[in-house]
C-alpha cells in the first residue's frame, strides 16, 4: 500500500522560490544505503516540494533550519532540518505500518508522537528480547499487553489489554484482519515470532477504515517484506522442556519491480512435562508447519503485494500417556486434541498518482479457510470457518492538505460452524459497510480525526460506528491525546470461552446470543522530561470501556454448570497506566510501568470482578547493549497483584482447601545474546524465580467425574525454563 496521504504533507508541488533562500542538496536512501528514486521532499509550512532523481538526489530551495519532510511509499516519513553548505544524507526506514503516518523516533519501542492514536511501536529489535516463539510471547517485554494462559491443559496463551480479554482487540496483519473468529484463542500461536518485523500496539478505539471490530485496541503486525529483508535468515531454538524450532526466511528480487520471499516455520514438542504431579501434562505435545510465500510489486503507478499462507498445527494434551494420533473418544486417559489447518490468500494493491502524492486508492483483500477438529476429554469438537474480506480505500484532500479524508467500502463474509458434544452453533455473516474518515491537520501541533462507518449485518441489522481522535502537542515533546469510539463483535460462543471446555461443567446457553457492543474512551499524555540529568519518556494513559452488550460466561453460579447469556446490567473496565522509559546511558535503558485495572461485570444480577484478574500490576524491563549489539542483556520482572478466586466454599470436594483469592506473584525472564558478523547466539530463561500455581486443576484424578475443572488458572503452570538458539543472517547488498 501507499503512504503519500501523509500527515503534514504539503501538497502543491510548485517551482517558485524565495530570493533569500539557498539551494539545499541532498540524497535520500534506505537504511541499507540504497538510493530512493521518486521520494518526495518538501519544505514544512510551504508549498515547495520536489522528487528525488534516479540517484536518489534532490535539490530544493530552503533556508538553513527549515524542516524538510521526506516521504516515500512504504517508508516512514521523516522530518529533518535543512542544512545549507553540505550534501545532506537522509536515510529513511521501511514503514512499520504501511498505511501509517509520520514516525520521527527510533529505538526498540517508542511512542509515535505524530500519530493521532495512542500508538506504541514494537520493533524487531525489541522482539528479539523474547526469543521464543510466536506472537503470544512477543508482548513479554511490553507493559501495555498482558499475556497469560487460558487454561491448565491447552497451553494456549491469551492477551489482555485495558484489563479486558484480547478478543476485544482487533489483530491485523498489514491492516487485514488476521487473528479472529475460530482462531482467536490459538491464533497467536500461529504467528511465528521470526516472521514479524514490527508490531503497532494501539490502545483505545481504532480507525474506522479497518472495520468495527476494534473495541479496546488495535494491534497491527508487519511481517518481513520480500523487498528489504535479509537474503537468508535461519533460526533454531531449543528449550529445556524439549521444544524444538526451526525457522527459515528467504527474500530476493526477481527483477526491478518484483520481489519475492518465503517465511517458513516448524516446531516440535513431544515431551511430557508434569511438574505438579497431577497426572496432567502441563502443556500439550505439539507440532506445527507454517509457510508463507510472498510477492511484492513496486511499479511506478501501482504497488502491490500478495501472500499465500498454509499452516498445519497439531496438539495432543491432557493426561500423561495421551499421544499424537490417539482417539480421545475412546482413550482411557483424558485426552485433548486440536488439529488446525489454515489456508489464507491475501493481497493489497495501491494505485498512486506521482504528481499528486496525497491522492490514491488502496485495495485490501483476503480469503481464508480454517478447520479445527479435535476434542476435550470424550467430547468431540469441530470448527470450520471461511472468511472473505474486501476493503477499498480512497484517500484525497479537500481543497488543501489541512483537510484530508479516507473513504471507502468493505465487505466481510464469514461462514462459521462450530460444534461441541451435542451443541451446534452455525452462522453465516454477510456484512457490507461504508465509511468516511476526515482528518483536520491545520498545523504541526494539532490533529483531529473523525470517522463514521455504517455496516449492515445480515443477522444483527445496522451497526453505526463513530470514532474520534484528537492530538495536541504542547511544547517540543509533550503530546496530549483523546479518543472515543464504538465497537462491535460477534461472539464465538465456544472458542471465546475455551477454558470452560476443560471442565465437567454443562454448557447452558439460556438465550439467543447477541453481538457484543462496547464504547471506549480515553486520554493520554506522553512527554520527555529530564530526571537527574537522564532523559525520561513518560506516558500516562487512562481508558474506560463500557459494554452495551457482552457475552457472559458465568462460572460462579454453579459448580456443575456454566451459563452463557447476554449482559444484563453493567459491565465496564477502567484502566490506568503510567510508564517511564529511562535512557540511563547509550548502553543501558529501563522501562518501568504500573497498571491499575478496575474491571466489573454483572453476573446473575451481581456486579463483581471477573475471576483471576489482578487489580494491580507492576512491570520493569532493563536492557543493556554494547555498541552494534555485540553483547545484549535483557531482563523483565513482572509483579501481578491479587485477583478474585471464584467462591468455592460449598464445593462438593471437601478434602482440598481452595484458594479464596489468587495470590500476588513475581515473574522474571532474562536473556543474554552475543552478536557476530553472521548473526547471533542467545541464551535465556523464562520464569527464573520458578513460581508455579501448584494445583491448577480441580479434581485431576477424576477427569470424567463431575468436579473436574481445568479453567481455574491464574498463574504459570510450569517452572523455570531455559532456552538457547542462534540466528544466522545473510544481508542483502
Amino acid at each position: 500500500m501507499k503512504k503519500h496521504f501523509l500527515i503534514f504533507l504539503i501538497i502543491t508541488i510548485n517551482q517558485w522560490s524565495l530570493m533569500a533562500q539557498e539551494a539545499i542538496l541532498g540524497m535520500v536512501a534506505t537504511s541499507k544505503h540504497e538510493p530512493l528514486v521518486g521520494a518526495t521532499v518538501q519544505v514544512l509550512g510551504t508549498d515547495k516540494g520536489t522528487i528525488t532523481d534516479v540517484d536518489g538526489r534532490f535539490e530544493i530551495s530552503a533556508s538553513n533550519g527549515d524542516r524538510l519532510i521526506v516521504s516515500f511509499v512504504g517508508f516512514d516519513t521523516d522530518t529533518v532540518e535543512a542544512e545549507t553548505g553540505k550534501m545532506m544524507h537522509i536515510m529513511i526506514n521501511e514503514s512499520a505500518e504501511e498505511l501509517g503516518e509520520v514516525v520521527v523516533s527510533s529505538g526498540s519501542t517508542f511512542f509515535d508522537n505524530m500519530e493521532s492514536k495512542n500508538l506504541e511501536i514494537i520493533t524487531e529489535k525489541e522482539l528479539l528480547k523474547a526469543a521464543c516463539c510466536n506472537l503470544s510471547e512477543s508482548f513479554e517485554t511490553n507493559a501495555s499487553v498482558d499475556v497469560s494462559l487460558t487454561d491448565a491443559v491447552s497451553g494456549a496463551k491469551m492477551i489482555r489489554m485495558l484489563g479486558l480479554d484480547g478478543k476485544y482487540v482487533q489483530i491485523n496483519r498489514e491492516n487485514i484482519p488476521h487473528v479472529r473468529g475460530l482462531t482467536n484463542r490459538y491464533g497467536l500461536g500461529f504467528v511465528p515470532g521470526t516472521w514479524i518485523q514490527s508490531i503497532d500496539v494501539g490502545k483505545g478505539a481504532g480507525t474506522v477504515v479497518n472495520g468495527y471490530e476494534s473495541m479496546t485496541g488495535q494491534i497491527n503486525l508487519e511481517f518481513k517484506k520480500p523487498e528489504n529483508s535479509e537474503k537468508l535468515y535461519l533460526n533454531s531454538y531449543i528449550n529445556s522442556f524439549g521444544r524444538f524450532e526451526l525457522n527459515g526466511n528467504r527474500a530476493r528480487d526477481l527483477n526491478e519491480k518484483w520481489s519475492t520471499g518465503i517465511l517458513a516455520h516448524a516446531d516440535y514438542f513431544g515431551s511430557e512435562i508434569d511438574q505438579n504431579d497431577d497426572g496432567f501434562m502441563d502443556r500439550p505435545k505439539s507440532r506445527q508447519i507454517n509457510v508463507l510465500k510472498r510477492f511484492k510489486y513496486n511499479g511506478e503507478r501501482i504497488v502491490g503485494q500478495f501472500g499465500l499462507n498454509v499452516m498445519r498445527d497439531e496438539k495432543a494434551g491432557g493426561q500423561t500417556g495421551f499421544d499424537f494420533g490417539d482417539d480421545h473418544k475412546t482413550s482411557p486417559e483424558y485426552g485433548f486434541v486440536n488439529n488446525t489447518t489454515r489456508i489464507e490468500a491475501y493481497g493489497k494493491t495501491g494505485i498512486l498518482f506521482l504528481d499528486k502524492p496525497y491522492k490514491g486508492w488502496g485495495f485490501l483483500y483476503s480469503a481464508s479457510f480454517q478447520d479445527m477438529d479435535g476434542g476435550f476429554g470424550r467430547e468431540p469438537y469441530d470448527g470450520k470457518e471461511t472468511t472473505l474480506y474486501f476493503n477499498a480505500i480512497n484517500q484525497n484532500i479537500i481543497g488543501n492538505s489541512f483537510h484530508q479524508y479516507k473513504t471507502g467500502f468493505s465487505v466481510l463474509y464469514d461462514d462459521f460452524k462450530e460444534s461441541y458434544s451435542s451443541l451446534n452453533l452455525n452462522r453465516q455473516e454477510i456484512v457490507p459497510g461504508g465509511y468516511f474518515e476526515y482528518s483536520y491537520l491545520p498545523n504541526d501541533n494539532f490533529t483531529m480525526v473523525a470517522g463514521l462507518r455504517y455496516d449492515h449485518h445480515n443477522l444483527y441489522g445496522s451497526y453505526w460506528t463513530p470514532r474520534l481522535h484528537l492530538r495536541y502537542q504542547s511544547g517540543k515533546n509533550t503530546v496530549w491525546r483523546a479518543s472515543a469510539g464504538r465497537g462491535y463483535r460477534t461472539p464465538n460462543v465456544l472458542m471465546d470461552n475455551l477454558p470452560m471446555l476443560f471442565s465437567s461443567r454443562n454448557i447452558s446457553i439460556t438465550e439467543e446470543i447477541k453481538p457484543e457492543v462496547s464504547w471506549n474512551s480515553g486520554a493520554s499524555v506522553t512527554s520527555e522530561i529530564a530526571l537527574f540529568n537522564t532523559p525520561v519518556e513518560v506516558a500516562i494513559d487512562y481508558f474506560h470501556t463500557y459494554f452495551e452488550n457482552q457475552l457472559i460466561a458465568d462460572m460462579d453460579a454453579s459448580f456443575t454448570e456454566v451459563f452463557l447469556y447476554n449482559l444484563r446490567g453493567r459491565s465496564y473496565a477502567h484502566n490506568y497506566q503510567t510508564q517511564l522509559n529511562f535512557k540511563l546511558s547509550e548502553k543501558l535503558s529501563t522501562r518501568v510501568a504500573y497498571k491499575y485495572y478496575d474491571v466489573k461485570t454483572t453476573y446473575s444480577g451481581v456486579l463483581r470482578r471477573p475471576p483471576f484478574i489482578p487489580k494491580n500490576r507492576f512491570f520493569i524491563n532493563t536492557a543493556y547493549a554494547t555498541k552494534y549489539e555485540k553483547w545484549k542483556i535483557d531482563g523483565t520482572l513482572q509483579w501481578r497483584g491479587k485477583g478474585r478466586f471464584p467462591d468455592m466454599s460449598n464445593h462438593p470436594i471437601t478434602d482440598v482447601t481452595f484458594d479464596t483469592e489468587t495470590p500476588s506473584y513475581f515473574l522474571l525472564n532474562g536473556q543474554i545474546s552475543r552478536g557476530f558478523r553472521w548473526g547471533n547466539i542467545y541464551l535465556g530463561s523464562e520464569n527464573l524465580l520458578n513460581f508455579r500455581q501448584k494445583n491448577p486443576i480441580v479434581d485431576p484424578e477424576n477427569p470424567f467425574g463431575t468436579n473436574f475443572d481445568a479453567s481455574m488458572i491464574w498463574g504459570p503452570v510450569t517452572g523455570t525454563m531455559v532456552y538457547a538458539g542462534f540466528r544466522y543472517k545473510v544481508k542483502r547488498k
Binding site: 544505503h33 540504497e34 540517484d55 550534501m87 544524507h89
Partner: protein
Amino acid sequence: MAGVVLPLLAQKSPIKVKEGLKIEIQTSAICEMCKEAIEYDLTFEKGVKSADLNLDDMVVTVIYNGKKTTDEKIRKRITMVGYNADHLKRDSVAYENLPFCCKDGGHDDDH
C-alpha cells in the same frame, strides 16, 4: 572534497593503554555510512575491544588485545570492508559493493 585524495601521513604504531593496545588508523571513510560499516565490522573482529571512527580526520581508533590480533590484521580487515587503511589499499571487490555514497565522488556535491 574528493575521496581519492588521501592525506599522506606517517603510519602510527600501537601504544599501550589500560585495556590493551591502541592503534589509530587512517581510513578513506567519507560519511556516516562508511563510519558505521567500518566500526560494525571491527566490533566483531577477533581481539577487538572497541572501534571509533572520527569522520573529521577519517581516523579510526581501535583498542584490541595484542595476544589475539595485530594492528596489521586490523588494517587488512578495513581494506576488506572496502576502505584504505594507512598504507594498505582497499580491496577492489569490496569497494565495488559499497553503496553509492561511500564511493569516490559520492560526496562531490558537498561544499
